[in-house]
């Protein structure tokens, strides 16, 4: 490398370091000198291919990860679990029949057990691993391309976002509301679910989730169910998710408007009629006004409106914004106890 070029690059690195702040040389990095190829090689013996029942177009296969030295395998939920037997193929090609220890509707996880010693396994922990922008490797048997002792496929990507969102596969599935680790490697493919998402150090970030559609974007999500959720599922310490009873009796409120309801709950909140003498009438709301915001919350549709009402208390004034013709009108309005 000639010196001129070198110095230019050195300047560049200086710049990058400038915008990047301090260089990170973590102790962990020094103590664990591994790289992507090693991370993949180290992970492969901890991977399992899972086969079971199929139903029509729904695939009868998935991926799994080994999570204990005595044959515990974590995978996703799916049709493949519903057949007479579930078969697990380890990285050396050895086949085992697995028993299903437990499965969870909300997280869409399943825990399988095979009668074998599995010295190579992923360590689960309560700590979350990886942040936005970090490189990750997704390992899975998407499309069943790996046969018998063939290693599963590896893909490189970064963590796009750690977030909670509502996402569901079909109407039947319970919406998962926990944390998701969105990644930009494409893992939303048949058979990939239950695969491993690891850092270049080989640490487990989470497992590839089932194919689900985001209702926000109407696109398939590429994501991992995070390590900490897996830990809770396997340890059985998952917090009970059920409807908790409200401590005090709920006081329903309303404004005295009848909304235009034809067209379903996704329709915007247009006012059809204002009840005489109601808070809405006092606030001079009119028929055809479209409610777009209550107390700072966006009202995009009737569903949002119903949600917003639940959070209001009687006799507590709030700001409402309505669209009237081409004008945005702000009104102060005090909800009343619903009769």
């Amino acid at each position: 490398m000639n010196n001129k070029f070198g110095w230019r690059l050195a300047l560049l690195v200086g710049f990058v370091v400038l915008i990047g702040g301090n260089r990170i040389v973590s102790a962990q990095l020094k103590s664990q000198p591994s790289f992507i190829d090693q991370a993949i090689a180290n992970s492969q013996p901890k991977m399992a291919k899972v086969f079971g029942a199929s139903a029509g177009k729904v695939e009868g296969f998935a991926t799994g990860i080994i999570v204990s030295k005595d044959g515990l395998i974590l995978s996703s939920q799916g049709v493949f679990l519903d057949g007479r037997q579930v078969k697990v193929v380890l990285s050396d090609g050895a086949e085992y029949v697995a028993t299903i220890l437990k499965r969870d509707r909300e997280t869409q996880l399943s825990l399988l057990k095979i009668q074998a010693e599995t010295p190579d396994f992923f360590e689960l922990s309560e700590k979350s691993v990886g942040q936005k922008g970090d490189w990750v490797i997704a390992l899975s048997n998407a499309f069943k391309v790996a046969d018998k002792d063939e290693p599963v496929s590896a893909m490189l990507g970064v963590i796009s976002l750690r977030t909670t969102m509502e996402a569901r596969l079909t109407k039947r599935d319970v919406a998962y509301r926990g944390e998701l680790v969105l990644i930009d490697a494409i893992t939303s493919n048949p058979g990939a679910s239950g695969g491993a998402v690891v850092t270049p150090y080989g640490q487990l970030v989470g497992i590839v989730g089932k194919i689900i559609n985001s209702s926000e974007t109407n696109t398939r999500l590429n994501y991992a169910v995070p390590n900490s959720v897996l830990y809770e599922f396997v340890a059985g310490t998952a917090s009970v998710t059920g409807e908790t009873q409200p401590l005090t009796e709920k006081q329903d409120v309303d404004f005295g408007v009848v909304l235009f309801k034809l067209g379903g709950r996704n329709n915007p909140a247009y006012i059809d009629r204002v009840v005489r003498g109601s808070p809405a009438a006092k606030a001079k709301l009119k028929s055809d006004d479209m409610i777009v915001s209550i107390a700072g919350e966006k009202i995009g549709n009737l569903k949002d409106y119903a949600e917003a009402l639940k959070s209001l208390r009687p006799e507590e004034e709030v700001l409402m914004i309505v669209k009237r013709g081409v004008e945005m009108v702000r009104v102060r309005i005090t909800p009343r106890l619903k009769k």
Binding site: F35, T163, E216, D288, K298, K323
Partner: protein, 377 residues
């Protein structure tokens, strides 16, 4: 470690950081260098050093996102038509979530993608990075680039991002797409490289970073957080506002560069509606040789106005030979409604080649595509 070697190491790391093909740069650098170091030291950085380079790129990705974040906005739409049945703008169903936009002037002009308004919402609001919500009006739109301009009023000091001139964008450089479409206030990122330039009639750059409804209208930025373009759905075969969404997250994604688009932005600020070009013929391959055969001329179309007739053979457009339908589409896509093209046509009536000046118009409005705001009551 010698100073020289340390410098070299830094250079290699810089190479890894600045360009994804840095590995190659670093390698060739090794061959050309006269650095007196043992093969083991030079041939590769140690695993730990490579790891450090990787975590530095991650850090650079995050910093790039942080740098552009103050100019990112969340766009909320209220109401509009929903595709209960059939399709709107070429797609069956749109997401229910918020979409992304980017501030381009300190007084409140915001650029986003027309995709985000497929449902033609009567009300649009914008949440700034500060958390403030403002109601916005749609000022101008460009359907050839799938971008549109919003305006919020009463502001003077909005942060605007740095833009990269299109001529400075290099194929192979890092590209990071950002968008708030997944519903979090912090944008989701996807990283990749610039795959190509001059796509879609020279209007778009192409990237393998994931582009999807989660970031349509959001920025594609470089490793330093400067804006390379605005993410949009694109399909060279179709002009429908939703066309291209079928390629979401596929490795084929597009963005519209803007650094030298001052003229275009002025037109949008003036309220212009830029539409794709249309000539109004149905055509097929010419069985007898070059050019394409005009099978039908749409009544009251640009083609019928200049007297094009069934049986004419279209040979070239602005001296570019036309031999198949795809080529015709690609050539027409370079223009917009209102521009004039020169066609060379072999006339059926006379058998002579003739040059026609044809003023392009926009495609007739599809009656299936709802135009008016939904009527209530």
């Amino acid at each position: 470690m010698t100073n020289k070697f340390r410098c070299f190491l830094l250079c290699c790391l810089a190479g890894l950081l600045v360009t994804p093909v840095g590995f190659v740069v670093a390698q060739t650098g090794v061959e050309k260098s006269g650095i007196d170091a043992s093969d083991a030291e030079v041939s590769g950085l140690s695993a730990a050093e490579l790891m450090e380079a990787m975590s530095l790129t991650s850090k650079a990705f995050r910093n790039a996102a942080t740098r552009v974040a103050p100019s990112l906005v969340t766009i909320e739409s209220y109401g509009g038509v929903s595709a209960v049945q059939g399709r709107i703008g070429g797609i069956r169903k749109q997401g229910e979530g918020n979409t992304t936009g980017i501030v381009i002037s300190s007084d409140g002009f915001i650029l986003t993608s027309t995709f985000n308004f497929i449902q033609r919402p009567p009300v649009i609001s914008v949440i700034l990075s500060s958390g403030e919500r403002h109601f916005a009006k749609l000022v101008g739109r460009d359907d050839t680039r799938k971008i549109c301009l919003l305006k919020i009023d009463g502001l003077t000091d909005l942060p605007i991002p740095e833009m990269v001139d299109e001529s400075k964008i290099k194929v192979g450089q890092w590209a990071i797409s950002l968008g708030v479409g997944y519903g979090d206030t912090s944008p989701a990122m996807s990283t990749g490289i610039i795959s190509a330039k001059n796509r879609i009639g020279g209007r778009a750059i192409q990237t393998d970073a994931n582009i999807s409804p989660a970031n349509y209208g959001g920025p594609l930025v470089d490793i330093e957080g400067r804006v390379l373009g605005i993410c949009v759905p694109m399909n060279p075969q179709s002009q429908a506002v939703g066309a291209g969404v079928e390629w979401y997250d596929s490795g084929i994604g597009f963005a519209i560069p803007l650094a030298n688009a001052a003229k275009l932005l002025d037109r949008l600020k003036a309220g212009e509606y830029i539409r794709p070009a249309f000539i109004g013929i149905q055509s097929g391959p010419n069985p007898l040789g070059d050019g394409i055969l005009v099978n039908k001329v749409n009544p009251d179309s640009p083609a019928s106005r200049v007297g094009l007739e069934t049986g004419d053979i279209l040979l070239s457009i602005n001296d570019n030979p036309v031999n198949d339908m795809l080529r015709l589409k690609q050539l027409i896509n370079r223009f917009e409604a209102g521009e004039t093209i020169r066609m060379t046509v072999k006339r059926k009536s006379s058998g002579d080649d003739e040059n026609l000046e044809l003023p392009l118009d926009h495609p007739p409005m599809n009656s299936k595509e709802p135009l008016a705001l939904p009527k209530i009551r």
